[in-house]
């Protein structure tokens, strides 16, 4: 469908520097572009502007102290960061987790997936549409909906963005009275609004024109670069860790995994919209089936050395909104980990950018980068 773009082929290419402070790089990314005319000849992303040395921190503070710091990694869906780390340590030190805690964990990680996808949709349309146009209205719609979810987080844990909801062996807070009514109301509202946004964008010829056939990522290349999550599923690979390796009673919920066909920006958009609907289904099922019982299997933490792990290594991965988020822990028996490797989904998803950008227009960078949905706390760690 994309007819050849016959732009003026000037011999000398100009080097454009899409710097770290740029309105549409989702955070701090610098792309060095070699352009001939309007077409991109070569793109070199330069990351590391948000490197906070989280893995070095993992080796100095104990497990209990490291957990709240992990919320700051993928700051759009904080509970999924904790979820991975908690699962890894529990697998290593085989700490049991009561069923009620597992359900609460699933409920809140799906809610944070919804919030993260809403932020993605808002900023994606804002980049495409510019600050003075249709993009802003969708951006504000999405953030209006996200407020409902953040209110639930605030009432449950006291904090909106960095909840520190989980601890080793369970969850730190129990369900507050009146939560099921609020969550049900939020889910119904969200379901209706998501259809509305999809209506607004899918029928929008300008939107389709800017996303269909742009940034096509084939299945093989996606697998080779190690992409995961909606980026991989957009290219047609049906692979979701919640179904492949069910963890924390995900096998008790039934939900489908949306898959795209030809891996362009539009398919990744469709996959994420469909994923939001599936998350709402999971949230509803988790809410009805919430079993009674304790919310933690360990006494609450008294001292920083409360959690110890036997020497050995473990790798536990979960499905974060951006893909496979895994924690590889090598421990030598002390309450501080010897080495924590965080397998960040955005890091590998972003490594596809140079391959994807070749041959596109300058205006397409924004669309492609938005569809990869990188979060730079995740990329630079």
């Amino acid at each position: 469908m994309r007819e050849k773009i016959k732009t003026f082929e000037s011999e000398e290419e100009i080097i454009l520097n899409m710097g770290p402070q740029h309105p549409s790089t989702h955070g701090v990314l610098r792309i060095i572009l070699k352009l001939s005319g309007e077409k991109i000849v070569e793109a070199k992303p330069d990351i590391g502007y948000l490197h906070r040395g989280v893995e070095k921190l993992g080796e100095t503070v104990t497990y209990v102290q490291f957990l709240p710091m992990l919320d700051r990694n993928d700051y759009l869906s904080a509970t999924t960061n904790e979820f991975g780390f908690v699962l890894a340590v529990e697998k290593l030190a085989n700490i049991p987790v009561p069923e009620r805690a597992q359900y609460i964990r699933v409920l809140f990680s799906e809610l944070s997936r919804l919030a993260s996808h809403l932020v993605w949709l808002g900023t994606f349309c804002l980049d495409l549409g510019g600050a003075l146009g249709g993009g802003t209205s969708i951006f504000l719609f999405c953030f209006r909906e996200r407020e409902k979810i953040l209110d639930i987080f605030e009432k449950m844990t006291g904090a909106r963005l960095h909840p520190h909801l989980m601890q080793f062996g369970g969850v730190r807070y129990d369900v507050y009275p009146g939560m099921d009514k609020e969550v049900k109301k939020a889910c119904d509202l969200l379901e209706e609004r998501i259809d509305e946004y999809e209506d607004m964008l899918v029928n929008n010829p300008v939107f389709i024109d800017r996303t269909k056939g742009v940034g096509v990522l084939s299945k093989e290349v996606a697998l080779e670069y190690g992409c995961s999550g909606p980026v991989l599923r957009g290219s047609g690979v049906k692979y979701d860790l919640r179904k492949a390796h069910p963890y924390s009673s995900y096998d008790k919920f039934d939900f489908e995994i949306p898959v795209g066909e030809n891996g362009d920006v539009f398919d990744r958009f469709k996959v994420r919209m469909e994923e939001m609907r599936q998350s709402i289904r999971i949230v509803r099922q988790a809410l009805e089936g919430l079993p009674e019982g304790p919310i933690a299997s360990q006494m609450p933490v008294k001292v920083k050395v409360a959690v110890k792990t036997p020497p050995g290594e473990v790798y536990a991965a979960i499905e974060s909104p951006r893909g496979e988020l895994g924690y590889y822990i090598y421990s030598d028996g002390k309450p501080t980990a010897y080495r924590v490797k965080i397998r960040a989904p955005s890091f590998s998803n972003l490594s596809v950018l140079p391959y994807l950008l070749k041959g596109h227009l300058v205006a397409d960078i924004v669309a492609i980068l938005g569809s990869l949905d990188p979060v730079f706390g995740d990329v630079d760690r």
């Binding site: 060095i32 070095k56 670069y225 390796h245 290594e313 790798y315 991965a317």
Partner: protein
């Protein structure tokens, strides 16, 4: 499953947590075999052991259809080189650059082995155990050091 089959063929021993250990010498032989039945490279990382002055480099591969994961480990001494996986998996490019940046392990025939996360003129590799933690934060002073012209 595929992991047991692989273990017999290559006669690798296994740690109690299920990671296969292979020798640096037979790197290509092992990676060739792994390439067939584990097409997805999940991550590469390294662990620094100052006691026996070496590193352990850990690879993680996945098989999407059978949704199975294996971890492979190898030991290398300080200053030894390791060959790069870029030939088999293009994703290894950034992962190996990050390990070079934070650990200082060089990878042979890697397309462009540069620091990926830290600035070019950074001395030392932070994730090594002997890297001092409580060092005063680096204060950038224009007078002392001219602004670095970075080649692209």
């Amino acid at each position: 499953m595929k992991k047991e089959k692989l273990k017999e063929e290559l006669k690798l021993e296994e740690t109690k947590d299920g990671t296969l250990i292979f020798q640096k010498g037979e790197f290509y032989h092992v990676m060739e075999k792994v390439r067939e039945n584990f097409p997805y490279l999940s991550f590469i990382t390294a662990i620094h052991f100052p006691k026996d002055k070496g590193f352990e480099v850990v690879y993680a591969f996945r098989n999407i259809e059978e949704s199975e994961i294996i971890l492979l480990k190898t030991k290398i001494k300080e200053g030894e080189k390791l060959s790069s996986l870029y030939k088999y998996y293009k994703g290894a490019d950034w992962m190996e650059r990050e390990i070079y940046d934070l650990f200082g392990i060089e990878f042979e025939n890697h397309p462009d082995l540069r620091r990926i996360v830290l600035p070019e003129d950074w001395e030392g590799h932070p994730l090594r155990k002997d890297y001092p933690i409580n060092r005063a934060p680096l204060k950038y002073d224009y007078r002392k050091k001219p602004l670095l012209r970075r080649e692209i």
